[in-house]
Amino acid sequence: MKQLLLKISLLLLVLFHSACSDDDDCLNIEHLDQLSATAKQWYVDPALGNRDLIDSNGITQTLVVAHSDEYIVPDAVEDDCGNIYGSFDYSVSFMPSLSAFSFNIKIHGSGISEDDFYLLMNIYYANGAEKKARYDFNTRKSHDNQAQISILNEWQVLNHTYQNVMEIKFTPTQIPSDIQKIYYAQSFGIVEYIDNSGVSYQVEY
């Protein structure tokens, strides 16, 4: 009985210590600033407006900036060392004018966790289906297995070369007209996407 009480006391002591440990209490401001700057480079200014989109069959439509939003909190987290760090969310929705789906891109950053700096790409289909991909700027890879994400130094679309392009390869699904790949250029947004029939849709610069 004494041994059991001793074990429980030790366990409680370990739990209490881990909850109150001082090791990670100070924010690494320099690192957070780097992540914040990197994340914001991928923001797309909605004022860039609608773009023409032409597919590999020669059908033209408009990639419409359907909605944009930003939410900034200057003091989202405060540490025990007197540091205060904010959070930001920028989101833009694009809708191809002849297609029954839309893209939503969210750039998120927060000092709460280093993993809290990411780009989230959602696709909403008119039939209610939805898929998403998330790139974490800290780990420099996809957050989960819903997509493989890599950064290409450059990508050429309709005779224009874009620098720093995120290539998102989605895990295939059963959704009709499912989007399989998206190319997303830094500061410009979606420059190309490819559906499951292999048809490529390219944005005119």
Binding site: D52, D55, I59, Q61, S97, A100, F101
Partner: protein
């Protein structure tokens, strides 16, 4: 103990105050006639071949042809309700991924046929009481009879989307004219 007895009548009154002992009565049925239904020729499972103005072929598949019954009115105690029918037909293409929903609603006073494009973002209306805009018209080398020209309900500038639809009872959608003057035409 006394308090419990005081609460009991209050609970009973509350329970029965929300009850309606009058039967809900159907006062009318607005059903679609065979003649109404014939305005949309598409049958579920069929595929229609269309052609974009540059020659690219697009397959439109009839995914749905449904007649649903709904009720309006009858929310208040003793109020009569009306049963009505609504037909929805959905045709879609894969590339680009787009769809049209054609609908006829028996509860609408005017005999209308509505065509919405991609989740109601664009809407066209045909009044079946009106005579066709063309008794005969030649479209892409083919002559069609009794054709209605439907114009988009609202205009949004600088966006490429359907602007005009040519429609008749026999073929359904004959041609979709886009705002950039390109066309998607039924291929015979």
């Amino acid at each position: 103990m006394m308090k419990r007895f005081l609460f009991l009548p209050a609970i009973i009154i509350l329970l029965f105050s929300s009850c309606c002992n009058k039967q809900q009565v159907e006062i009318d049925r607005m059903l679609l006639s065979e003649s109404d239904k014939a305005w949309i020729p598409y049958q579920k499972g069929e595929t229609y071949l269309f052609e974009y103005s540059n020659g690219t072929e697009l397959n439109f598949h009839v995914d749905q042809r449904e007649i649903n019954q709904a009720i309006m009115g009858g929310e208040d105690c003793g109020e009569g309700y009306i049963t009505y029918e609504k037909m929805n037909v959905l045709i879609s293409s894969q590339t680009p991924s787009m769809f049209f929903t054609l609908s006829i609603d028996a509860s609408v006073p005017e005999p209308l046929l509505g065509i919405s494009f991609n989740s109601n973002q664009t809407y066209f209306i045909l009044n079946r009481d009106l005579p066709p805009d063309y008794t005969s018209i030649d479209i892409n080398g083919h002559t069609y009879q009794n054709v209605y020209m439907l114009e988009k309900y609202e205009n949004s500038s600088n966006i490429i989307e359907p602007e005009i639809i040519f429609y008749n009872k026999t073929e359904g959608i004959i041609q979709i004219k886009l705002t950039d003057n390109e066309t998607i035409t039924l291929k015979n």
